[in-house]
């Protein structure tokens, strides 16, 4: 059963993945086991294939969507046994102010959800004030800032400064990403890390949560 779920995720077949997960739950399987032995290995394998350039972006995206669909069935069950389960971490994500790029940020958000993170996607054109408010309200472990224009990269720095001013900087890790962004830039503006793509972002987020 776990192998079938994993295979359905790798095929990017959301319907089949959901049907299998439903069946597993009906048969009385432990949802945590379905998650840890079926879904997570599936999406992790997709990530590894993507890194090896054997999988390409559409395959990574559909595998992420299939896993997300499975998570939606599993989450209510997992929450029922609250003491046994918690999300991989809370993650607030958005594209910085003045920047309308949606695609990359949304793929990262989707892959994080698939990896078991509780993700709050603030969308695009998000001001520094809004990031601060949401960090205050949601108390995430990590906040992710996307910038796809050289002209909006400085906004990532503004968000970090605003978090400092609000006294929140030491309460949350800040990750940055986007085509023109680099690890040098991340270091320069005092971010906690840079990820080149969605797979790298999930890895980094998991590492931070360890």
């Amino acid at each position: 059963m776990f192998e079938e779920i994993k295979a359905a995720i790798l095929d990017g077949d959301a319907e089949k993945t959901m049907a299998l997960v439903k069946k597993a739950l009906e048969e009385g399987m432990d949802p945590l086991e379905v998650l840890n032995k079926g879904c997570i290995p599936g999406i992790e394998k997709a990530g590894a294939l993507f890194e090896a350039e054997e999988f390409f972006l559409p395959e990574l995206i559909t595998a992420g969507e299939a896993t997300k669909a499975a998570m939606e069935l599993l989450l209510p069950e997992l929450r029922k046994k609250e003491d046994a389960w918690q999300s991989a971490g809370k993650f607030v994500i958005g594209t910085v102010e003045g920047d309308m790029h949606d695609i990359g940020k949304s793929i990262v958000a989707s892959m994080l959800s698939a990896a078991g993170f509780e993700v709050f996607d603030l969308g695009i054109d998000v001001s520094a004030e809004r990031f601060v408010e949401e960090v205050k309200a949601k108390q995430p472990h990590i906040v992710g800032l996307s910038a796809l224009l050289t002209s909006t990269m400085p906004k990532q720095q503004e968000v970090i400064e605003a978090l400092k001013e609000a006294g929140l900087r030491d309460k949350v890790k800040v990750l940055v990403g986007g085509a023109p962004v680099s690890s040098e830039w991340a270091e320069k503006i005092g971010a906690d890390g840079y990820a080149e793509d969605a797979v790298a972002a999930v890895k980094l987020a998991k590492k931070i949560m360890q």
């Binding site: 390409f56 559409p58 995206i61 695609i103 050289t150 002209s151 990269m153 023109p180």
Partner: protein, 267 residues
Amino acid sequence: MLIVGELINSSREAVRRAIEGRDSAAIQRLALSQAAAGADYIDINCGTRIEDEEETMQWLVQCIQEVCDAPLCIDSPAPGALAAGLEAAQRRDKPLMINSITAEQMRYAAVLPLVRKYKAKVIALLMDDRGMPETAADRIRIADRLIGDLIADGIAPGDIYIDPLVKPISTGSSFGREVLEAVRYISERYPEVHKICGLSNISFGLPNRKILNRIFMIQAMAAGMDAYILDPTDRAMMGLFYGSRALLGYDPYCAGYLKAHRSGLYD
């Protein structure tokens, strides 16, 4: 039909190094090779130089102008860097192109005066304060407004180059078709307005990107695209460009195709 050569961009490793070492000869070679390969305009983008973009832009413009007669396309999302580049480039009697204006309120207001002041051609990117377009209908809505505003503000339709904003088909199966439909509409509705696009976004996230880029160039031309931002030294791409242009009837007596053939411009 117009080719804007895309190689002078500081996000490319060779250009980054040339800028850091103030290696003007390397920049000049890049400009000359693109002009020789058939570029009508040389694009200059140094957006990755966040601390000194304006100064770098001026340096690039000056160093290219020393050796190369080709018109320049000043490329930045920052109005300040556009102004710096245009100021440096205006000292000679050559047309200028600005890359780019959008329908975002602030960017429109900041870039429009530059288009007017330098009587420049302008690339108008189809995005507004609501974000980036997904469908052909989104693009058409923004194009109607942006073209209307530019013309009302005194810009000649023939100086407008609409960039429909190409997104990767790896992230949305219909993203190629949505662009083609919008280009068809704009061509029909605004026959004097030009359409321009880059060719690498379409293939992001997929293998064999060059093949997709080339096919999309041809498909877009059939839909009415009449300008491209590309690498003119890519001989295979240029062969398809000249061939496609001749096949669609934009090349009287196949003269351009034959000239390119004799000059050995493509494989």
